[in-house]
């Protein structure tokens, strides 16, 4: 089904592109109609089978081309007087005739040497296909402007840690200050959370964006129907309006225009739908609905200057650039730092273009890097073709000489040769471009799903333009030099002699050696890069997260407030759920937890801690940024984390009991140094602010993934933090996913209106944390191997040619006493020299590539000697293997035959 949709989309895209060939007037007047009719007709032939579809699509493509020609001709001739018109047509006809002749001749030449043509076309298909594919991803994710009005003026605002340059959310106070000082045309803070919703088709956990006044004004988006929130609605007590996303409107209400005024229930509270936003609006986290961020405060609250809890976007004032606005907010931040040195020292604010923030620095760098890498693959391909063409040029020596002797202009011959090359490039480029949707699909399949705007990747006019450019650039790279060379003046001087007798000149040999060394150097760079990523990935995979992550299934539940108003029903629900889950045959133990390790999801709180008896900051000694995990009974048993000292949580650790907490080793060490943490009391300063007794100490875990360093973590009992949104964790006997169906069944039985999301095994969560490293390793690996194969084929081709041109020289050498092994050595030594030079430059280049990859490497240095040695040896090996057959051929030259040839 999906495939069908893709094919239809592909066909409509082709139709759209072909329409672009037509004059603007025609497009304006009939464009939409042509599209609709084409799609209607496609729909009609769809049922008739693949053959009918293909035939229809091809007929349409040809017909669009003919229409374009006809319409342009009409357009053109309608503005000319009849006489000029006929002259122009004559001239055009003659030119077209010549080109046509060249093309026809080129076709014949191409068909005469099918082997050569196939190699060239295949090389181009690989090179252009890969480059176009990566470019189309780059274009959609990074380069394509965001779908807003004047997107360059939209910025994201981030708190900036001056020590290490890290950035994170901003405070509501900062926002209020920017608004008051009138820094931006519009500024808004926002966030998003999953909220349970009923009153729609099925109850669901819905991603709801929440924003302050000015959000859609910043993006300059208006509702498709209905209205935005009124300014009163941003204050508490003025009703509960919501906006729907376009997708939700379609899915839940079938685009019903009467949706306005309908009521849905969120967290048990009725909300009125006041508008529907266009699909561009759901850009941050695929928001499905929005509600206003209702704030009673209109002025900064002193204690909240370090409560960095919200995202912020703003629209720059017209005519004011990014840098001067940045200066302005930095000055304001410096003033705040002076006023509140204990909480804002070393903290500033920065702003960056919205898309840079959306994609993030690492993705940005990875994509450009990949683009560079496929560029190298194309370059290696072109170098190969240039080599082959030079060889072929020499073979066509006689033909070109005769044609010049008969009076052909050099320009004419060059045009002929370039037409041949262009023809190859057009075929290779077109096939590569046609192949690219599949390559794109393969690349996207190995990319993390979280990459923004990845859905929009496809062939558009920019990408096609790029493909055309890449093809032309390839022709220039591989075709021009050989064309110039094989038609040069020398051709005339040597007329009548055979190319075999003309030994390869020193300059020729030099240029060929340079080309081969370049290929090897580029291949080595890519191989080393891929090797580094693979080693790094290997090291990551060997890291144990610190608990038994296998056979652990997780499932998110959010109990709505309306039906579970207080702690008692919440706790009894989870208690019953745990018991029923544990009664299932495949489940050995179950528990709940608020926030999962390995970025598996959940509600995330990071808190600061202070030990009993220590003074409060600024003189204090607190530990900040500690994840606050609310966990159920049997949590440590279920996830397989032993309690090192003390005890685990018991049923008695309930709301009436003594407040308790379990901490990890890192926390104990940071908080109490050498002292024994067990039995000490700590409080989450400024949040919960009650003293909890440390009753147990557990080992550290790699909380955020294999590359995460041990960090302080605390666990508090669910009975003392009776949260509604929790994650059920079950230890399963067999494969983790085997328990999904029975657990769902239990939940449906307990509360049929309860949305269940986030079904994830901890193995998958761990694997997800490595996804970007894996993507880079796979893609770099594939491209590097492609480059290596192309280089090997290139070396083989060039050496075969060199040996063929040196037959006579080799014959003479053998006649005067050289034996077979001498001759083999001669060829192999040449290769070794070339490989040596390639190696030197390749090693230098791979240092640069390693440096670029550094931020993505884990426990592997960018200049890792093992990788470099393995890859270098491998590369020289491949070079030697590709030169072996030509060398053997040289050694088997019969001196008598070789000398008799002339």
């Amino acid at each position: 089904m999906r495939r069908n949709l893709d094919m239809r989309r592909c066909s409509s895209r082709i139709c759209q592109l072909m329409l672009r060939l037509c004059p603007p007037d025609f497009r304006e007047e009939f464009g939409n109609e042509v599209m609709k009719t084409h799609l209607d007709r496609l729909e009609e032939v769809w049922e008739a089978g693949l053959r009918a579809r293909t035939s229809f699509m091809m007929t349409e493509a040809v017909d669009f081309t003919r229409t374009a020609v006809r319409e342009w001709k009409n357009e053109f001739s309608s503005n000319l007087d009849p006489k000029t018109r006929s002259e122009v047509i004559d001239r055009e006809t003659e030119m077209l005739g010549n080109i046509f002749k060249d093309v026809r001749y080129s076709f014949r030449t191409m068909l005469r040497r099918p082997g050569f043509s196939i190699v060239v076309v295949l090389t181009l298909v690989i090179g252009i296909g890969a480059t176009t594919s990566v470019f189309s991803i780059l274009e959609s994710v990074l380069l394509h402007p965001l779908p807003f009005n004047e997107p360059d003026r939209i910025v994201a605002l981030r708190t900036l840690e001056l020590d290490d340059g890290s950035t994170y959310n901003v405070t509501i106070n900062d926002y209020l200050m920017w608004r008051e000082k009138d820094v931006f045309e519009n500024v808004s803070v926002f966030g998003a959370r999953r909220i349970d919703m009923t009153g729609i088709r099925d109850p669901a956990l819905v991603m709801v964006g929440v924003f302050s006044d000015g959000y859609f004004e910043t993006l300059q988006l208006s509702p498709v129907i209905g209205r935005l929130f009124s300014s009163e609605e941003y204050f508490p007590g003025s009703g509960y309006p919501i906006l729907l996303s376009y997708g939700s409107w379609q899915r839940w209400f079938g685009e019903d225009p009467d949706v306005l005024g309908k009521v849905v229930t969120m967290r048990g509270v009725p909300r009125t739908i006041v508008g529907v936003m266009p699909s561009e609006a759901s850009i941050f986290v695929q928001e499905q609905a929005w509600e206003p961020l209702q704030m009673s405060q209109t002025e900064p609250i002193e204690a909240d200057w370090d409560n960095h809890s919200v995202n912020a976007i703003a629209r720059l004032k017209d005519g004011v650039d990014l840098n001067s606005t940045r200066e302005q907010i930095v000055t304001l931040a410096a003033r705040i730092e002076e006023m509140y040195p204990d909480i804002r020292s070393g903290i500033s604010v920065t702003l960056l273009p919205l898309n840079d923030w959306l994609t993030g620095a690492q993705l940005n760098q990875s994509l450009w890097l990949l683009f560079g890498v496929v560029g190298f693959v194309l370059l290696i391909g072109c170098v190969n073709i240039a080599n082959l063409l030079m060889a072929k040029g020499s073979e066509r020596f006689k033909e070109l000489t005769v044609r010049r002797a008969l009076g052909a202009h050099r320009g004419r011959l060059i045009r002929q040769l370039l037409t041949e090359n262009c023809l190859l490039a057009v075929i290779g480029g077109a096939a590569g471009t046609l192949l690219s949707p599949w390559i794109i699909r393969l690349i996207i399949a190995v990319m993390p799903a979280s990459v923004p705007r990845i859905d929009g990747v496809g062939l558009n006019s920019t990408v096609l333009g790029f493909a055309v450019f890449a093809s032309i650039a390839s022709v220039v790279m591989f075709g021009l030099a050989p064309a110039l060379r094989s038609t040069s003046r020398r051709t005339g001087i040597l007329a009548g002699s055979s190319p075999r007798t003309a030994t390869v000149g020193r300059a020729d040999r030099h240029s060929r050696n340079i080309l081969m060394s370049t290929e090897l150097a580029l291949s080595l760079m890519l191989l080393t890069g891929a090797g580094l990523m693979l080693r790094s990935l290997g090291k990551m995979s060997n890291v144990e997260p610190g608990f038994e992550h296998n056979h652990l299934l997780t499932l998110s539940i959010s109990l709505p407030q309306s039906r579970y108003p207080s702690g008692e029903p919440v706790m009894s629900f989870y208690q019953q759920l745990k018991e029923r889950a544990e009664n299932l045959p495949g489940i050995t133990s179950a528990t709940v937890r608020s926030f999962l390790p390995l970025q598996g999801g959940g509600f995330q709180l990071w808190r600061s801690f202070l030990a009993e008896g220590r003074p409060e900051p600024p003189a204090g000694d607190e530990v900040s940024g500690v994840p606050w995990n609310v966990v159920g009974v049997d949590h440590f048993k279920t996830i397989g984390l032993p309690v090192l000292r003390g005890r685990t949580f018991a049923d008695s650790d309930n709301a009436d009991g003594n407040p308790v907490i379990i901490v990890n080793e890192r926390y104990a060490e940071m908080m109490f140094d050498e002292e024994d943490a067990l039995g000490k009391r700590v409080r989450s300063w400024r949040d919960e602010n009650i003293y909890r007794e440390i009753v147990g100490i557990v080992p550290n875990v790699r909380f955020l993934g294999p590359t995460d360093q041990p960090r302080p973590i605390v666990y508090v009992p669910h009975q003392q933090n009776q949260w509604r949104a929790m994650i059920l964790m079950s230890r399963v006997d067999g494969p983790a996913n085997s328990a999904v169906a029975p657990l769902r069944e239990i939940l449906r039985d307990m509360d049929p209106d309860l949305p269940v999301t986030g079904i994830l095994s901890m193995e998958d969560a761990l694997s997800n944390t490595m996804s970007s490293a894996r993507t880079m390793a796979i893609l770099l690996g594939v491209f590097a191997v492609t480059a290596l194969l192309l280089a090997a084929v290139g070396i083989f081709g060039v050496l075969s040619y060199v040996v063929a041109t040196r037959t006579r020289e080799i014959g003479i050498r053998m006649a005067v006493g050289a034996n077979r092994s001498n001759v083999m050595n001669l060829v192999m030594t040449d290769t070794l020299k070339v490989a040596g030079i390639g190696l030197v430059f390749g090693i230098a280049g791979s240092q640069i590539l390693g440096r670029l990859l550094q931020s993505q490497l884990f426990e592997v240095s960018p200049g890792d000697p093992t990788t470099l040695i393995v890859m270098s040896v491998g590369l020289v090996g491949i070079a030697m293997i590709s030169s072996y057959i030509p060398a053997r051929r040289a050694a088997s030259v019969d001196p008598v035959d070789a000398l008799r040839q002339e």
């Binding site: 009939f30 109609e33 042509v34 009719t37 349409e60 229409t67 319409e71």
Partner: protein, 121 residues
Amino acid sequence: MPDSNKSPEDLLPLTHLSFLILLALARLDLHGYAIIKTVQQYWGSTFSPGTGTFYSALKRMKQEGLLKEVAASSKIPEMDNRRRYYSITDFGTRVLRAEADRLESLVSTARSLQIIPVEGS
């Protein structure tokens, strides 16, 4: 805009495609795809011009004053507001009639030469 002095005969013979399009529009105002479908009813499903060629013809016929674009109206059954509808002009009707006459006289000639049987015989 058509030349007001032009007579229907100036445009004859009509191309096959133009004739069929006018025929389809003779009774109803239709959008592009509906025109193709209607012609297929008269002619059979083998009638299948390229979409580009078809609109190229519509454009030319519009310039020649044979048809015009019409606003959506209740007169059209199962009106689809998102599409553009075309209607035959008076001039178009006259051209259609002239072409039909021309064809008919050709058919009569064929009949009188006994290439096809005479009606009723």
